[in-house]
């Protein structure tokens, strides 16, 4: 009997039983499956139990008492997906967010997300409205055929993200062939994958890099090859440090990446400075109004990114200080100006 069939038979059997089922009884009912030597049979049963739990089906062992025999059971309340009892707007949030994420094509646990969206219709009364808004969100987020072809992410990206998602959840070490920022610098490294984040439309892996012996961030688009440690899939290879704070790393502004020691930098936004322009420097920037203009002060540990951000605003912003940064911005513009002439 193949495994899928055995697992479902076992689940159906335990679900139907009104009381815990003794191990002997399970062996008797599945002689071809859990017969043979006791040790091997129990190990097989334990593996099956673990797989069922991974599918969302908890098999519990009950010690038994005066009224009930000892044995295994699946409690219906613990098995069936419950009603989430969410207000319509909260259900809409889940449908819209999940559908758009799935349409994006690259999202961690994309397969799980598709299953979750399907199952969601059982977890809510009158899910119809949100479900159809979700379908529309999926459709509109995808665009038409031509747009989809143009917007196709790097080939293999979805696969890499799926593999990494699995490694993050199971805490399995990964081996990366990683392209450095400068072309031609490919490095091989082992990484303990702590987490995944998305910023400016791209996915990043954060983890402990065994090559650099430190926490590092990797752009998924630059991972040329990925290998997950396949040995002992249910035993973690590492523990994530208690103080690991993914959100803080993920919400850094590009000029806050750790590249050099901190430098105070100022820029001026020419009037009228829009809400967008002011907000674009993030929550840690100090802003003050000065004769209609806005002076922005930030602490940069990757000043080049600040130069680029200010440049992208065209003539609506200039770097004021430090002087070398101002000169760098001016040089870029002078170079482009010559090239455009």
């Amino acid at each position: 009997m193949q495994k899928a069939e055995r697992l479902l038979d076992l689940a159906a059997f335990l679900l139907r039983s009104a009381e815990p089922v003794a191990w002997r009884e399970i062996q008797e009912q599945f002689p071809g499956e859990y017969g043979g030597s006791d040790g091997a049979a129990i190990r097989k049963f334990e593996r099956d139990k673990a797989e069922l739990l991974e599918l969302g089906i908890p098999v519990r062992w009950e010690a038994g008492d005066d009224d009930l025999p000892a044995g295994y059971l699946i409690e219906r309340d613990e098995f069936y997906l419950p009603d989430l009892e969410l207000a319509p707007e909260d259900l809409a949030l889940l449908y819209l967010a999940g559908s758009a994420a799935l349409a994006h094509g690259t999202f961690p646990y994309a397969k799980d997300l598709a299953h979750a969206l399907n199952k969601l219709s059982f977890a809510a009364r009158a899910a119809g409205t949100s479900e159809s808004a979700g379908l529309a969100a999926h459709q509109l987020s995808q665009g038409d055929q031509r747009e989809r072809a143009n917007a196709a992410p790097v080939p293999g990206m979805a696969g890499i993200l799926e593999e990494l998602s699995g490694a993050v959840a199971a805490k399995k070490r990964v081996h990366l062939s990683y392209e450095g920022a400068d072309r031609g610098q490919r490095t091989e490294r082992d990484v303990d994958p702590y987490g995944l984040y998305q910023a400016t439309g791209a996915w990043f892996l954060v983890g402990h890099c065994h090559l650099r012996r430190d926490l590092r961030t990797f752009h998924l688009g630059r991972i040329a090859r990925l290998e997950v440690n396949r040995t002992a899939p249910r035993s973690p290879d590492f523990a994530v440090p208690k103080d690991f704070a993914l959100r803080e790393l993920a919400t850094r502004e590009p000029w806050e990446y750790a590249v050099h020691p901190p430098v105070r930098c100022t820029a001026r936004l020419e009037p009228p400075a829009s809400y967008e322009a002011r907000a674009s420097f993030g929550p840690r920037a100090a802003l003050r109004d000065e004769e209609g203009a806005v002076v922005v002060e930030v602490e940069a540990t990757n000043a080049e990114a600040l130069v680029r951000h200010v440049l992208s605003m065209g003539d609506r912003a200039v770097i004021l200080a430090p002087a070398d940064l101002r000169a760098r911005a001016r040089d870029v513009l002078a170079h482009l100006s010559r090239s455009c002439a």
């Binding site: 193949q2 069939e5 479902l8 159906a12 139907r16 009912q29 599945f30 991974e54 599918l55 969302g56 908890p58 098995f79 997906l81 989430l84 969410l86 207000a87 707007e89 909260d90 259900l91 809409a92 949030l93 819209l96 967010a97 999940g98 758009a100 994420a101 961690p108 799980d112 997300l113 299953h115 969601l120 059982f122 409205t129 159809s132 808004a133 529309a136 509109l140 987020s141 998602s165 959840a169 072309r183 987490g195 995944l196 998305q198 400016t200 439309g201 752009h219 688009g221 994530v240 993914l246 829009s274 130069v307 065209g314 003539d315 200039v318 001016r330 870029v332 513009l333 002078a334 100006s337």
Partner: protein
């Protein structure tokens, strides 16, 4: 008693039969086996995928009696052939003592799927921690007043033993920061769920000014890194996208509307008209490697040193100029001529700020 499982025979091909397919167990001896069920053995992933699928498929078919084969297959993300294989496989699933009524019984009649016996698989199992965490990560990135309520509900729907793993996993995926204040998102989600009009204070970039809009909110969508509200703008009398990060405030109106049918919505596109000619940029090697990993960037030419010419559809001259400038001197807009002039002019004016 032997307790051994006797498999029912493979379903008979041929015209649909109103009779139950399963034969009495007495008729089944020897080694019969449905070939389809053996094929699916294969890699571990296949068996797992099938299990997860059928644990949804059976209750879904129970809830939608007589659902078309085509629709059920689409819902499960598989082909009709694969669905029929799954149904064959399910005929062999049951529980001891494996009497005729102890098996699952799903059958196809006139291209429709019916369930005679579901063997307690009448609802799907709870969310696995990664299913719930994926949904939670997506919800956190969209945001809204309901985020924490939704997360708490997702947590409750994971088996108790797996909740600590769920908590941990939620802290290890971050899919982005919400594009608009919580209250704006919360009201939009409510308006979409309740089919209520909204009044928006909206910043239009093309006008460079804020204005008031009354909109029937149909849904939200995410394209190329931005979230949009998509709905019917009453003053402009047509459906339009509104970028969430440009909605300054949102008020729920009293008017209810009838949303378009799913069939109608399926024909809508977020951006209705062609966005003008695609813009071409020439990129240095490092900028090229970075830009090409973004959605919406298409490679046109590549030089040996890694530099490249790329095309960006639906970009617009202004956006393309800002994008090129953000690459710190490693990019310039090259075509079409109007976009090239726009870029050159922006460079000249910005340089004047430094020299003036």
């Amino acid at each position: 008693m032997s307790g051994g499982k006797r498999r029912p025979p493979a379903p008979k091909p041929g015209p649909p039969n109103t009779a139950r397919r399963r034969k009495s167990p007495g008729a089944v001896t020897g080694p019969p086996n449905a070939p389809a069920t053996e094929q699916a053995g294969g890699a571990k992933g296949d068996a797992r995928d099938r299990l997860r699928r059928v644990l949804f498929l059976v209750p879904y078919a129970v809830r939608h009696p007589g659902i078309a084969v085509k629709d059920l297959a689409a819902k499960c993300g598989i082909s009709e052939k694969e669905l029929l294989d799954d149904l064959d496989f399910l005929l062999c699933v049951g529980c001891p003592p494996f009497a005729p009524d102890d098996f699952l019984d799903l059958y196809v009649e006139g291209d429709r799927v019916h369930v005679a016996l579901h063997q307690s698989f009448s609802r799907p199992p709870r969310f696995t921690e990664s299913e719930a965490a994926a949904l939670a990560a997506a919800a956190q990135a969209l945001g809204g007043d309901g985020t924490s309520r939704a997360l708490a509900a997702l947590r409750e729907s994971v088996p108790r033993d797996r909740r600590p793993s769920f908590d941990e996993l939620v802290g290890r995926i971050y899919a982005g920061s919400p594009a608009a204040p919580r209250s704006v998102l919360g009201r939009l989600q409510r308006a979409i769920a309740e089919h209520r009009e909204v009044r928006l204070r909206y910043y239009s970039e093309t006008r460079g000014a804020e204005g008031d809009r009354t909109v029937q909110p149909w849904t939200l969508a995410q394209r190329l890194g931005h979230w949009y509200l998509y709905g019917f703008d009453l003053s402009r009398a047509r459906p339009l996208p509104f970028r969430l990060d440009r909605i300054r405030s949102c008020e729920l109106g009293e008017e209810h509307f009838t949303p378009p049918t799913p069939e109608h919505l399926a024909k809508e596109r977020l951006f209705s008209d062609a966005q003008g000619e695609p813009v071409r940029l020439r990129l240095g090697p490092r900028a090229a490697a970075w830009a090409l990993s973004r959605p919406g960037v298409k490679l046109m030419e590549r030089e040996e040193d890694g530099s490249a010419v790329v095309e960006m559809a639906a970009a617009g001259e202004d956006w393309a100029t800002r994008f090129a400038l953000s690459l710190g001197g490693e990019a310039e807009v090259v075509a079409p001529p109007s976009a090239r002039r726009h870029f050159a002019e922006a460079v000249r004016r910005a340089l004047a700020r430094y020299d003036g």
